[in-house]
Amino acid sequence: MATDLRISNISKIYPGCVANDNVSLQFKSGKIYALLGENGAGKSTLVKILSGVISPDNGEVFLNEKNLKLSSPLDAKKNKIGMVFQHFNLFETLSVFENLSIDATEDNKSLRVRINEILKKYNFSIDLDVPVLNLSAGQKQKVEIIRCLLRSPKVLIMDEPTSVLTEQETEELFISLKKFCDEGILIIYITHKLKEVLSLCDEVAVMRKGKVVSVSQTQNEKVETLANKMVGQKLAKIKKKINISKNKDEIFKVKHLNFYSDDPFETNLVNLNFSVKKGECLGIAGISGNGQNELFQILSGEIITPDTSIIFRNKEIAKLNPKQRREYLMAFSPEDRISQAAVPELKIYENVALNNFKSSNFFEKGLVNERKIKEHSKKILSDFSVNTDNVELKSQFLSGGNLQKLILGRELITAPELLICYNPTWGLDVGAINYIHETLIKINNQEKSTILISTDTEELLKLSDRIAVIYKGKLSKIMPSEEVTPEKLGLLMGGGSID
């Protein structure tokens, strides 16, 4: 039976923010719908309303012309609306089977039979009796999907499902979603990743600042057109002028970088040698887990390796800790913004002060000079167009993009000679990515150097002057980026070799 889901004039207002402003949309089964928007555009609010987690201030939801009252998650379940949240709604310490049985109405035996049928039908392989905390992100998501499928849903809503998945897992997910769609389940796919919309979905609704700004067929759209709709302005195309000058000074030079670890979750690094010139961006590509984490930690001084030589501005710094390296004008932007770069519970200005460099006068005689730190923080907020001017705000309330701008700002305001960043645009939306990219290019134009460790090949090709690939802890030959194509990079990242 065909399913028809209609959202009519939904509004939801939070103090100081209109999350949904008169949203009306219509969905029909047999198609995959994308709901596209930047972080904070109101997508998540809308799906929370559809799944009964929050109630709208205004508006109605119709399923097959029946007006639904969705005042609790139970109502959504009863009406066969299934939802896979971005942050998994699983019980980590319970087994997979316990997770699935918690809201089941049948007895355990027949439930197990039904789960096994689903596992077989969609080719999922999950051990039902291990605790969920032992599963990978992709498997956890499958558990969530199975939980929905057990209730034979009419509508399946996926909230940014690929943000935690590897590429392989993403492909598997897309195959499953297409299968569900063929079986008549209406799929609503929430994302801010444009390519996913184009490759998976049939129709796309774009949201911006709580409003639906466009609904269209994806076949009529391109990455650029969607990006412009999402951001609301024409995005400047960024292309860096590659500057390879043979005679520039080498500002940073790494020799014999070896790292050996007993931890099976760490990658050993084998004899890495590379150098960075003044005003240059060295890109280091690779699929995550090939040693980037370890490399970043060694370059930043979190891990000290013996017998490695790191020369920076003609000084040997291999034995210095991160604080001392900062004093020599290095700066770092780690991959994990929340746990490595900033403390989410601290206020913005407190996070700024954490990075206490010698030249600043944030601390006097062991006391915190709050006024100076706040002034300094305000300057960062305005210079780096962070979306707030309240330095008292706790950092956890900043969106990913704004937090990254704050971190970059904090690092750059000391005018470092070398910035090392690891996946600086991970999980950000288009607008923020553009801003970060522009900033990184600006650094190079000011004759400062950058090392960009990234898993995003497009980003690397856009920003780097020279590129090397890291694979299983070994570094490939360093290539000028005009000689590099995405195909070549892909080959190297997969462990292949060229020429």
């Binding site: 799944s51 929050i54 109630s55 699983l90 980590e92 310490t93 319970l94 316990e98 918690i102």
Partner: protein, 310 residues
């Protein structure tokens, strides 16, 4: 003092009796904590149970009413905690501490007129078997019904948590209240129930002290047993069976060190008095070393305030 076989039997019997209040209170608190609520008011709830049980016994002269009444008073006082932490979203730790202080003070006030009144003999079961079977007689028979209940409780609790649907719901709520709420479970009600159950068990533990173990009312007669029960839950890594083991070790060494003191061992008394605490912790730490199991048994959301998104 001769260490003959029947004496050992009596000794074990008395160790069991002394560990009953710990088992009861800890099993109750375990359920509360498994739902993610940290109630530090165990001592307060126990002492309220002790005084209300004793007072009801004196007033009504009916032990059944006294026992049920003590559990009911435990429920009432834990309801205060539940209302504050679940409905008014106060901090679990501060509220629990307040509850203990409140309970101790209130019990002292209520108990003023009951000091010095003799208790009533509590009926014991199978008293004839106790005398007729050597060694096993004093261990297995001649105890109050509450003792038998207390020794069954950890196994019942284990069964409840591991095998029943409701137990699964309790664990789920303790693991992730947000997920549970999104799955349509009413987190607040589940937590209220667990808090009230914990209160009832603590009330019963208190009544066991004032009606059965030392049948009289003495101010502050729980003497820190509530805190021991709380510690047992944590050191037993939220496993009911290990709570039972811990309570027995604690009770056992308490009794043994008293005998050692009486015999006049040349070990400082202070050290002997500290021994039960030390040994219980050591043993429980050793038997609970499996970090994977700790992770699986620990209620992830313990002590965190949950409120529903609107």
């Amino acid at each position: 003092m001769s260490l003959d076989i029947s004496f050992i039997g009596i000794l074990i019997g008395s160790i069991m009796a002394s560990s009953v209040p710990l088992i009861l209170a800890a099993s109750g608190e375990l359920i509360t904590e498994r739902s993610g609520v940290l109630n530090l008011g165990v001592e307060g709830m126990m002492i309220i149970g002790a005084i209300s049980g004793f007072a009801l016994m004196v007033i009504t002269d009916n032990l059944f009413i006294a026992i049920v009444g003590s559990m009911f008073s435990g429920v009432i006082i834990s309801l205060i905690f539940g209302f504050l932490t679940q409905s008014l979203l106060t901090n679990h730790v501060a509220t629990g501490l307040a509850l203990t202080i409140f309970g101790i003070g209130l019990s002292a006030m209520l108990g003023k007129n009951f000091v010095g009144i003799p208790g009533k003999e509590f009926p014991i079961l199978f008293s004839s078997l106790r005398e007729s079977i050597p060694f096993f007689g004093p261990i297995l028979f001649g105890h109050s019904i509450v003792l038998y209940f207390a020794f069954a409780l950890p196994f019942l609790t284990n069964y409840f948590l591991k095998k029943t649907k409701l137990g699964l719901v309790v664990r789920a709520v303790g693991d992730s209240p947000v997920s549970a709420s999104n799955q349509g479970i009413n987190v607040i009600i589940v937590r209220y129930c667990c808090i009230l159950y914990g209160g009832a068990m603590c009330g019963l533990a208190g009544a066991y002290l004032s009606l059965i173990y030392t049948p009289q009312w003495i101010e502050n007669m729980t003497a820190g047993r509530g805190w021991i029960a709380l510690a047992l839950v944590v050191f037993a890594t939220w496993s009911p069976i290990k709570v039972l083991i811990g309570a027995l070790i604690f009770g056992g060494i308490t009794i043994l060190q008293l005998h050692m003191q009486a015999i006049g061992f040349r070990i400082p008394v202070q050290f002997l008095s500290a021994l039960p605490y030390l040994m219980t912790i050591i043993v429980l730490v050793v038997i609970s070393r499996d970090s994977r199991k700790i992770k699986l048994n620990t209620p992830t959301s313990l002590g965190r305030i949950f409120y529903k998104e609107k």
